[in-house]
Symmetry: C2
Subunit: 338 residues, 2 copies
């Protein structure tokens, strides 16, 4: 088993969930440690029946730590995680900072588990909107070679962390009372509105969130020739990202074939009965670790093309669950854990 | 001027707005009449400073009427509007019932005004999600010939009429109080959720709303070879539909060219400054008669392709405004009205 597992960023939305997942799941370690910014340090938390003090994150925090699970903003990851690697740890990082670095594995365990096979260093977990898409694309890519993806996202406010959720609730309540609300988490009002920008402008008129879907997809699927055209939109949904996806493959994939491929792939659940009004939605997918696929149909604008709808819990499979699954993958590889 | 203009369905969301628009705009008639279902008949309303009784809609309602503006469910349109045509009227119909009929013009005045040049009969106004898209596509089609469109919609609840708006507000308030809500207007909860189905299953795994975007686009642009792959999604937004659109044209269109084409086209307003956080959103477009376009950029998955974001008030340009503009077009043609 691991000697010392350190969780970094334990008071954020994803950090809390990682802790909760580790309560439920069997990852074994002699010691757990919980690190957060100075603001949160000193708080106590209960984990697997024991009380722990939250320690302040410093560059000296990682002595004797062999595994780090980190969920922090990019700049915090950049400043502190290299110290963990120097101290000998393997770091599973939720931030975007190291993802596209040469030599840093970017891992979705169902898709490219072999990439996680390193002894120390940083393993990045992808951006939430990439993870669910790439998991759905993988069986199609293996069977028919994905060439081009056009995706429009419908992203929940929980992707902005605790503040995002709070702002949706408070601003919606204010709007229903006819009151003004000073928004802060989002650049524009989110109550009963949608915002076609997530992240900053990155390149060619695309946002940083959108370009993550381009570059991370290529890296995870190991195919730099895959073309992706993304549009990322924040909508007033509490939790779970939804994606409208159109795929062009080298060899045609019928909707029936796609359904079979999705059903046979680990981590995907097909929920698809349009006449019955059955398809994945945020309110039915929240709290699950799976990626849900529905509205599977031919792209009627292109023979042999495919269109589908994909929903997943962005805090779980899109973040915390994926990180914990990477840790479990390492435990199996290194210690033969089941 | 027109002798008698009859408004049908005056108590619905679109009917009310048509009345309001006719208050503001100069369409001239000797007489106006206001018709609605038996349930609403007998109410009185004030229009241009006069009181009117709402009359019950019957097949005998149309004697002496030369222009009808109708906003009703499909089955009401099917039953009553042919009687108006028999009585000699020109009928501008918001419903979907006649739109795809051979010989029935389907008109967006900025796009295909010539189609409205009939002496009597039905002129259909397109589905709201089609109208805004086709208006944005028209200058691209004229300049470079649109071949394929991939569109994902973010549709407001006001498209379901007064009940849709009420259900969003009530169910959201209930959810914020932690209470259950029995939804009725929508098949699934809409509060903080999104629903990837609008209308019934129509064909090939697509919904009726989606197939409207295919067939109506071809008819309005007069080009049956245009391919459209639509995904229509209801989101918890009060008013204004948004659309993420990717277009393939025969000749390449640069983002700069597209911007110039949009800016020069009547009825379109370009709102596009991503670094400044400026783009169309429902909360900034509601109440306008224009179609707003932003996020204009190259489709990075295909050289020469284009992607953009399009928002419009679905009750106004998507319905009431378009119908009133068709009436104004007829008035100009027939009476030289300005």
């Amino acid at each position: 088993m691991f000697k010392t597992v350190a969780l970094v960023g334990v008071t954020g939305a994803v950090g809390r969930l990682m802790r909760q997942l580790l309560e439920e799941r069997p990852l074994a370690a002699e010691t757990f440690r919980f690190l957060a910014s100075a603001r949160s340090a000193g708080k106590t938390l209960t984990f697997r029946g024991r009380e722990y003090a939250v320690e302040p994150l410093t560059k000296e925090s990682f002595q004797g730590v062999d595994l780090v699970l980190a969920s922090t903003p990019d700049e915090v990851a950049a400043e502190y995680l290299p110290a963990a690697v120097e101290a000998g740890a393997t770091v599973i990082d939720e931030s975007g900072y190291f993802r596209m670095r040469e030599g840093v594995p970017l891992v979705v365990p169902e898709v490219n588990p072999e990439a996680a096979d390193i002894d120390r260093g940083i393993i990045s977990s992808p951006n939430c909107s990439t993870t669910q898409m790439v998991l759905a694309l993988k069986p199609l890519h293996d069977a028919a070679r994905v060439r081009r993806v056009i995706v429009s996202t419908y992203q929940a406010v929980s992707g902005m962390g605790v503040q995002g959720t709070q702002e949706l609730e408070e601003s919606t309540a204010a709007r229903l009372r006819g009151e003004e609300y000073r928004h802060a988490a989002f650049a524009h009002p989110i109550a009963f509105n949608c915002i076609p920008q997530i992240g900053r402008e990155k390149e060619a008129g695309y946002t940083s969130e959108e370009m993550k879907m381009v570059y991370e997809t290529r890296k995870i699927l190991g195919d730099p020739s895959i073309q992706v055209c993304p549009t990322c939109v924040r909508i007033p949904v509490a939790n779970c990202h939804s994606e409208s996806i159109v795929v062009e493959t080298e060899r045609p994939v019928s909707p029936a074939d796609a359904r079979s491929l999705f059903e046979a792939f680990p981590g995907i659940k097909v929920v698809d009965d349009l006449p019955g009004g059955v398809y994945p939605m945020p309110n039915t997918c929240t709290g699950s670790d799976l990626v849900f696929v529905g509205r599977i149909r031919e792209d009627i604008s292109r023979p042999g093309g495919l269109s589908f709808w994909c929903v997943s819990d962005n805090l779980r499979k899109g973040a915390a669950t994926n990180a914990v699954q990477i840790a479990e993958l390492l435990a199996r590889r290194r210690f033969g854990a089941k």
